[in-house]
């Protein structure tokens, strides 16, 4: 799993590649914490996680998303998900995380 941070004018984008699973959830969590911190320091209210190139995310990765959402709430930063591929769309539906997070078709589309 790799992640890439991009601080834009309106949000910090976290692009995640590969698999988020039992081997990589801690690193993924660290990446999200870093993104929230960057957003907070830059006065940005949004972190958008780009799921387009994610192979899959296990329950550990999804639970890390929940932890990040709570960290974000404390820092007044909203976490949203963008560009889920077909596999991630299924996983978000099976987990019902599509009810917990705002999901947009692309990283350009804001809530």
């Amino acid at each position: 799993m790799d992640y890439f941070l991009d601080r834009r004018e309106d949000a910090v984008i976290v692009a995640v590649h590969g698999r988020v699973d039992e081997a990589s959830w801690e690193s993924f969590g660290a990446g999200l914490s870093e993104a929230i911190q960057q957003a907070q320091q830059s006065g940005l209210g949004d972190v958008i996680i780009d799921l387009q190139k994610l192979d899959y995310m296990s329950s550990r990765g999804l639970r890390v998303l929940t932890v990040a959402k709570r960290q974000g709430q404390e820092a007044s930063v909203t976490i949203s998900l963008a560009s889920p591929n077909e596999v991630m769309r299924e996983i978000l539906a099976i987990s019902r995380y599509d009810k917990l997070f705002t999901i947009t078709e692309t990283i350009e589309i804001r809530r």
């Binding site: 899959y56 639970r63 099976i94």
Partner: protein, 320 residues
């Protein structure tokens, strides 16, 4: 080892309403589309082959009770939910055919849905029966006596005629009971719960892990569960909620999800997962959908050998 599910519902016994049965019959008649059946067996073949489980059957509504046929002839039973009543009657039929009247119970915890069947357990009135109640909770006897106090039940515990013994289990320590090795693991649940690993003389291993929450902030301790489940032939796992429910509205309610079940079983190299402790508000269609989604999630995340995902129902028998 044979595993027989007598009660698979979580929290509260439920039963289908008259309208729910009518709905199933009406839909089955529509699906049959006017065809004739020679007899009941012919009609049941149609149900088996052409209707989904939810359309042609029912997952059941009795609370947790799972029997293991293992060891050297005594009974092994996990929990005393309302499914215990049916098991008790069935065991008396088997006793009449010569089965040993020794009952080894293993309690996950003492919440009401896991002990409510004991006052209706007919063999407890048999003076020739021995009932050994194994529990890691030191207050197991108090819980069973309390639910038969006059304010709750007309028959006091002391009126029971069987020889009833309480055996204290120690988590982390291996116990031998009538030819079966039992290991006990502390789980996250209100007033604690315990998971069990049963290993028979052939090395077949069955895990009973219900009412166990795998918390967001304790993912680093899940390695211990993976070891506990390692290479198990069957894992019976609490899949009461969706993952989203278990980390939001129902966090700290002490239950887990189908996705955490699949992930832990994958990591442990378990062979078969039984979804268990079904949410009482779920209709059959909801449970079936959860089962189908669990199978799909297993496919999407599989890296090694396939994990067979089955959905427990009252009356299911699984041989491992």
């Amino acid at each position: 080892m044979l595993v027989r599910f007598w009660g698979t519902r979580g929290s509260l016994p439920v039963a289908p309403t008259a309208m729910a049965i009518r709905h199933k019959i009406a839909n089955a008649l529509v699906a049959a589309d006017g065809r004739r059946f020679e007899n009941s067996a012919d009609a049941e073949r149609f149900v088996d082959r052409e209707l989904s489980f939810a359309a042609g059957s029912h997952y059941g509504g009795a609370t947790s009770c799972v029997e293991l046929e293992a060891g050297n002839g005594s009974y092994f039973i996990c929990d005393m939910g309302s499914g215990l009543r049916s098991f008790g009657l069935d065991s008396m039929r088997r006793n009449a055919a010569g089965h040993k009247k020794t009952y080894n119970f293993f309690l996950s915890h003492l919440h009401w849905d896991h002990i409510m069947g004991f006052p209706f357990f007919a063999p407890s009135f048999d003076p020739e029966a021995t009932i050994r109640i194994h529990a890691a909770h030191p207050d197991a006897e108090q819980a069973l006596r309390r639910q038969q106090e006059e304010i709750s039940f007309p028959v006091p515990f002391d009126w029971l005629r069987a020889n009833i013994e309480f055996e204290q289990l120690t988590p982390g320590k291996s116990h031998e009971v009538d030819g079966v090795r039992i290991e006990t693991k502390l789980q996250q649940h209100s007033h604690d719960s315990y998971g069990y690993r049963f290993t028979d003389a052939d090395g077949r291993a069955v895990i009973y892990s219900t009412d166990s929450e795998h918390k967001l902030d304790k993912m680093d301790v899940e390695a211990a569960f993976i070891e506990f489940f390692r290479n198990a032939d069957l894992v019976v796992f609490d899949t009461m909620y969706s993952l989203a429910e278990s980390v939001s509205m129902k966090e700290d309610w002490g239950h887990s999800s189908n996705m955490v079940a699949v992930d832990l079983c994958h990591e442990a190299g378990a062979k078969k997962l039984a979804l268990f402790h079904h949410e009482p508000t779920y209709e059959d269609e909801d449970i079936q959908r959860m089962h189908e989604e669990s199978i799909r999630y297993e496919e999407l995340t599989r890296e090694g050998s396939p994990l067979e995902v089955i959905c427990s129902y009252d009356g299911l028998e699984v041989r491992v």
